[in-house]
C-alpha cells in the first residue's frame, strides 16, 4: 500500500516537473534560444530524486533552504552541464523548480500513509497539470497572433521559431503592419462598418425584443406556448440553411452589399436568443410592481419604460453585449452578402485579405488582432454579465 503510494507520488510529480520544464523550454526556443532536446530521462530522473529526497528528509531541514538548494542544483545541472544558456533562462528554470518544490512540500511520509492518498496526489497533480496545459494551449495562438503582427515577412520566413520582438526599433517600424493595414487596406473604414452594424444590431434587437419578451413573460394570449417553443426551435436553426434563399431574395431586392441588409439579417438571427434571455429575467421581477402601475392607469408602454427597463438593466446589458459580440464576430452572412470592398465588415475584410496569397501574414495577423482585441476587452471587462448571459443564452441545464 505504502510503496504503491510513494511510487505514484514520485512518478506523477516527476512527470509534472518534466512538463513544466518542457513548456519553459518551448517558450525559450521561441525567444531564439537554441534548445534541441527535452532531456526526458534526465529531468524525469532528477524529479524522482527531488521528490524522494523530500520524503526522506521530511521536516528535518527548513523548507526554504531545501527548496533553494534543490532548485539551484537542478538549474546548475541543466544550464551548465547540458546546455549553456543565458541567465534569464536559468532564472526561469530556478523559479519553476522552486514552485515545484513548494508544491510537493505537503506530501510527507505520514501523508502518504493515509488511505486514498495516491488518488489525492493524482488529482492534485492533474489539477496543476491541467492549469498549466490549458492556459498554454489556449493562450499560445493568441500570443502568436500578437507577436506575428509585430514581425517582418523576412524574419518570419527565415526563422519561424523566433518570437522575440525587437523593442529597440523605431515605433513606426514596430507598428508597421498596423500602419499599412490602415493606410493601404483602409481598415479604418471596415472598423467603422463593423461598429455601425454591431451597435445597430444591438439597438434594433433590443427595441424588438424587450416588448416581445415582456409579452411572453407576463401576458396571457393565444399561441403563447407555441411562440416560446418556436423561439427555441428557431434558435437551433443554422445560418447555412438560410443563406441561399436570403441570397436570392436580397439580390433581387438590391439589399446585398448594404449595411441595411446585414442589419436585418443579424437582428432576425439574434432576436430569438435575446427574447429568450430577457423573458427569463422579466419573469423574476415581482408582479406586484406592475399591478401597482396598472392601478396608476399606466399602459403597457409606461409599464415597460418605467418599471421593467429600470429594473432589468443588468439583464439588458448582458443581452446587449452578447448580441454585440455575435454581430461583431459574424462571418457567414458577411461572406455571402458583401462582395464590394466598400461595404466590408472587419471579418469579411480579413477573409478577403487572406484570399490574396501574396498578402504578408503579419498584415493578416495585425488585422486579426484588431478584430479580436475589442471582443476580448469587452469580455474581460464585463465578464460577470456575459457569463450569466452565455449560460442563460442556451437552454438551461
Amino acid at each position: 500500500m505504502k510503496i504503491k503510494n510513494i511510487l505514484i507520488y514520485s512518478i506523477v510529480s516527476s512527470f509534472f516537473l518534466f512538463c513544466l520544464v518542457s513548456i519553459w523550454k518551448i517558450l525559450a526556443t521561441l525567444q531564439g534560444l537554441d534548445v534541441k532536446n527535452f532531456n526526458f530521462n534526465l529531468i524525469f530522473f532528477f524529479g524522482l530524486i527531488i521528490s524522494l529526497s523530500y520524503l526522506i528528509l521530511g521536516n528535518k531541514i527548513n523548507n526554504r533552504i531545501k527548496s533553494i538548494f534543490f532548485s539551484l542544483a537542478f538549474t546548475f545541472l541543466d544550464s551548465y552541464l547540458i546546455q549553456s544558456l543565458p541567465l534569464w533562462y536559468s532564472i526561469g528554470l530556478f523559479l519553476i523548480v522552486y514552485f515545484f518544490t513548494s508544491k510537493i512540500q505537503k506530501y510527507s511520509k505520514e501523508y502518504l500513509d493515509q488511505e486514498y492518498s495516491s488518488q489525492i496526489v493524482l488529482f492534485d497533480f492533474l489539477t496543476l497539470f491541467g492549469i498549466v496545459l490549458f492556459s498554454f494551449v489556449i493562450l499560445f495562438p493568441f500570443y502568436m497572433m500578437l507577436v506575428t503582427s509585430f514581425k517582418t515577412q523576412i524574419a518570419l520566413l527565415v526563422n519561424p521559431l523566433d518570437f522575440s520582438i525587437n523593442f529597440k526599433q523605431d515605433i513606426k517600424e514596430l507598428f508597421k503592419s498596423y500602419f499599412v493595414i490602415f493606410k493601404t487596406y483602409k481598415f479604418g473604414k471596415f472598423i467603422l462598418t463593423s461598429s455601425i452594424v454591431s451597435i445597430g444590431t444591438v439597438i434594433i434587437t433590443l427595441i424588438f425584443a424587450i416588448p416581445a419578451a415582456y409579452a411572453v413573460a407576463r401576458l396571457n394570449f393565444f399561441g403563447k406556448t407555441f411562440l416560446s417553443t418556436s423561439i427555441l426551435i428557431i434558435y437551433m436553426f443554422p445560418a447555412i440553411v438560410l443563406v441561399i434563399p436570403l441570397y436570392t431574395v436580397f439580390s433581387q431586392l438590391g439589399l446585398r452589399n448594404s449595411i441595411e441588409g446585414l442589419l436585418i439579417v443579424y437582428t432576425a438571427t439574434t432576436l430569438p436568443v435575446a427574447i429568450y434571455m430577457l423573458q427569463g429575467y422579466f419573469k423574476s421581477i415581482p408582479k406586484e410592481l406592475e399591478e401597482a402601475a396598472i392601478l396608476d392607469r399606466q399602459n403597457w408602454f409606461g409599464i415597460i419604460f418605467k418599471i421593467i427597463i429600470p429594473l432589468s438593466v443588468p439583464a439588458i446589458s448582458s443581452v446587449a453585449l452578447y448580441v454585440f459580440m455575435i454581430a461583431w464576430n459574424e462571418f457567414l452572412f458577411s461572406l455571402m452578402f458583401l462582395d464590394n470592398p466598400n461595404s466590408f465588415t472587419l471579418s469579411r475584410a480579413i477573409q478577403y485579405l487572406s484570399g490574396d496569397a501574396e498578402t504578408p501574414r503579419q498584415y493578416l495577423m495585425a488585422g486579426s488582432v484588431i478584430v479580436t482585441l475589442p471582443v476580448l476587452l469587452i469580455f474581460v471587462y464585463f465578464e460577470k454579465y456575459l457569463v450569466s448571459g452565455l449560460t442563460a443564452g442556451s437552454v438551461k441545464g
Binding site: 443554422p238 493578416l364 495577423m365 442556451s394
Partner: protein, 419 residues
Amino acid sequence: MSNKLSKIEKRTAYILTLPAVCLVFAIILFPIFANVWISFKEVGLKDIRIPEPRAKKIVKSISEEPVKIKIIYKLRNSSLIQEIRNINFEDKFPKNTKPIDLDERCIFKVNKIKCNFGNWQAKYRENFEIILKSTDGKKIEKKEVKSFKPKLRGKSDNILLSTSFTLKNFKKVLFENEFFDLLSTTFYYTFFGTVGSIIFGVLAAQMVNQKFFGRTFMRSILLFPYVGPVVALAYTWELLLDPNSGTLNSLLINFQIIENPINLLGQKYIAFNFFGFDLKLRLALTTVIFFEIWRYFPLAFLFILARLQAVPKELYESADVDGAGPIQKFTNITLPQITAVISILFMIRFIWNFNKFEDVFLLTGGASGTRTLPINVYQQGFAISDIGMGSAVSIVIVILLLIFMYFYFQLIGKKANEN
C-alpha cells in the same frame, strides 16, 4: 369586465410581439420554406439576377452646326439568358429643342420623348441615335441635355416564380454526389467534435471547481477561444499549422520529434503503426476536429461548472465522513450530478456542430477530406453556382436537423417531467 381586460391583454400581447415575430418569420422561417421551393428548380447563380433594360446616354456636339446636337443611347439587355418584353423608354430634352428625323418607334410631346422598343432578346444591343435641333436658333448646352436621365421599363420572367419543377437536384444530391462519403464525414466531424469538447469541458470544469490562486482569471482565459472571432482564430491556427513555416512543425522538428513537416490541414490520410496494426487516420479532418474542440469546449465548461457549483457541499462532506476517496467522490457524486447537463449539452453541441460552416470553411475550405454537408451547400450554391443543388443539400440538412431536434425536445420534456 374581466373578459374585457383579457381582451385588452391579448391585443397588447399581439402588438408587442408582432414586430419581432414578423421579422423572424421573414428572415428565418420564410427562407426555410423558400429552400424547398428552390430545391425543386434548376436555377443557377446567374439566373437570379432580374434582367434589366439599360441605356447609356452619350451626347455629342456637331461641330459645323451649333444649333444641332447628337444623342446616342447605347441600349442593351443586361441579361445573357433572358428576354425582356414590352420595353418602354422615356427621356426629357431641354426646352426649345426638337428632334429631327425621329425613329418611328417613338413619339415626341412637348419636351418629352416616349418610345416603345418592343421585345429584346438576351444579349440584345443597339445604338439608338437622336438628333436634336434648337427651335430658337440658340446653341444647345451639352450639360443641360446630359442632366436628364433616360428611364427604361420592361417585363421579364422571374425564373424563381415560374411553376416548373424538377427532381433532378435531389437525384444528384443523393446518388451522384458521393452522398454517403459526405454524410459520414459530417457525422465523424460532429460526433468527435461534440464528445471531445464535452470531455475537455468536464476536465476544465473539474479543475476550476478546485480552489487555487488566480481561479477567476483562469475562468476568463478558458472562455477566450469561444468569444474570439472565428476569422482571426482560424487564420492564426492556419499559420500555426503551416507545413513550411508554421510554428508547430518547426517546434516539432527542432525537438527532433518528427523529421519532415506534416501538412496537418492539407493531407487527407496519415498512415501510422499502432501496436503492429497499420492504421489510416483522416488527418485534416482530425485537425479540424481539434480546432472545433479547442473553440467550443468553453461552452461545455461553463455549463458544467455552473452545475458543479450548485452541487451541495454537504454531499461531499458526508462522503468524507464515509471515507470515500476522490475517485469514488467523482464517480458517485459529481458524475451523477452532471449527467443531465452533459446529455443536454451533447444534443445542443451535436446540432450546432452538425451545421458548423465557418470553422471548416476558413481552415481548409472543404479540401482534403473535410467536406461536410454545410460546406457542400456553399460549394454547390456558390462555387459551382448551382443554387438549386445548394438548396437541395440545405433541405437534407433541415430534415436531419428536425430529427435531431425531435430527440432533443423529448430529452428536455423528460427532464421537465422529472423535475
